[in-house]
Subunit: 237 residues, 2 copies
């Protein structure tokens, strides 16, 4: 193994709490305090896969996630009966970049800092480059490079999202390990020849989470968190 | 200013000494000790612009620099009368990645480490992503992201090499400062609306260097080295 590439939303950062935090502030400023911010976070996120699917299927050219998120924000607010035309455009833009200000899970920075001593570490996220850079700088996530959809011009789980990343890294595919809290992401990565590591994030979807609590295939690595991942793959002293 | 994007070959790293060092080892192993390694480094580098020009002009699709370097290596050795077919392919591949193992100028890591506290820092190089990542890990260069030709799919000084980078960063073009030891790079960046910083590297081409010893336009910033650049743009305590 030479490189670890990470899913980000859910695996590295807690998007649900972060979006709910910023949405709550927005709703209270705009007299929308009746909307539950956690429900809203999930509702906004629900529009994510269909928006990317339009790009994956070729209905629409590749479009970076900040733009898809902004379109989805308008739809999500509209679904709650909010008259978006009455809202300040700058405030909507600001809420849209809440995705740039998500907090990592508590083990992330320490685990990645250790992994970085021996391996290339990079996000392999559907998030765009600016989103990943701003998130990493705010939270001190020490990536070696920002890879992912905007670099490969392909949204996971399309195969080019994985195969182009491997080619860009100039490594045999087995030397690149996809790390994710989502079995489906690892399944797609394995189909492309990458190694796989599962790290469960049982609170990604809140207290009632029912999916991805356990590995569903025999992934190459199963770790409790990023510190445990580092324990498993770093050379012993 | 929000982001500083750096030319790399010449501005961040001393390619001439690094290539000469690895070429000298290669030549001595293969009985080619008659070739001057510094001359060879310059000869190999001379093929760089024409190879990129084939991509810039559209004669050839965008092709990452590792591949262009490898083709140019065969040509450069052939120009010295070396029978490349007699050489070990793995050894040629290894020499080709000498570009991944170049040393930064002495002020680079300290200056960038300081700049990173307040700004996004990224290479805006014609080098490909793996080349930049491997170079940065070996030399502890603390980039926030790897930008450049493989991300924009355009070789400098083509305008898309600058304009797509600005768009990817999601910033107004004036908030992105191109840093280079080459006036021509800054000229092209300024034409695209970026801010500009000149850092002279009077030994890039060896002791006889005659070009780029001074700024040839009124660049926004002129710094002696990266530490000085940090002094000029960081907030004073």
């Amino acid at each position: 193994m030479k490189a670890f590439c990470f899913d980000v939303f859910g695996t590295v950062v807690d998007w649900r709490s972060g979006i709910a935090r910023e949405a709550a502030g927005f709703f209270s400023r705009y007299g929308l305090a009746g909307i539950d911010p956690y429900e809203f976070a999930a509702a906004w996120r629900t529009l994510y896969q269909p928006a990317m699917e339009a790009c994956r299927s070729g209905k629409r050219p590749f479009t970076r996630l900040d733009i898809l998120h902004r379109e989805n924000l308008v739809v999500a607010l509209g679904n709650y009966g909010v008259d978006v035309a009455q809202l300040d455009t700058n405030a909507l833009d600001q809420l849209n970049t809440a995705w740039h200000r998500l907090d990592p899970w508590p083990d992330v920075v320490s685990g990645l800092t250790r992994l970085k001593q021996h391996y290339i570490i990079a996000p392999a996220s559907n998030g765009n480059i600016a989103l990943m850079v701003n998130m990493a700088k705010r939270a001190h996530v020490p990536w070696d490079a920002i890879l992912g959809a905007e670099v490969t011009q392909a949204y996971k789980p399309s195969p080019p999202a994985y195969t182009r990343m491997v080619e860009i890294l100039g490594l045999p595919s087995k030397d690149v390990c996809m790390v994710a809290a989502h079995n489906s992401d690892l399944h797609a990565a394995r189909e492309c020849g990458l190694s796989t590591a599962f790290v469960a994030r049982p609170k990604e979807h809140g207290p009632q989470q029912a999916s991805d609590l356990e590995p569903t295939e025999d992934w190459d690595i199963v770790a409790r968190d990023f510190d445990h991942l580092a324990d498993l793959v770093l050379p012993k002293n």
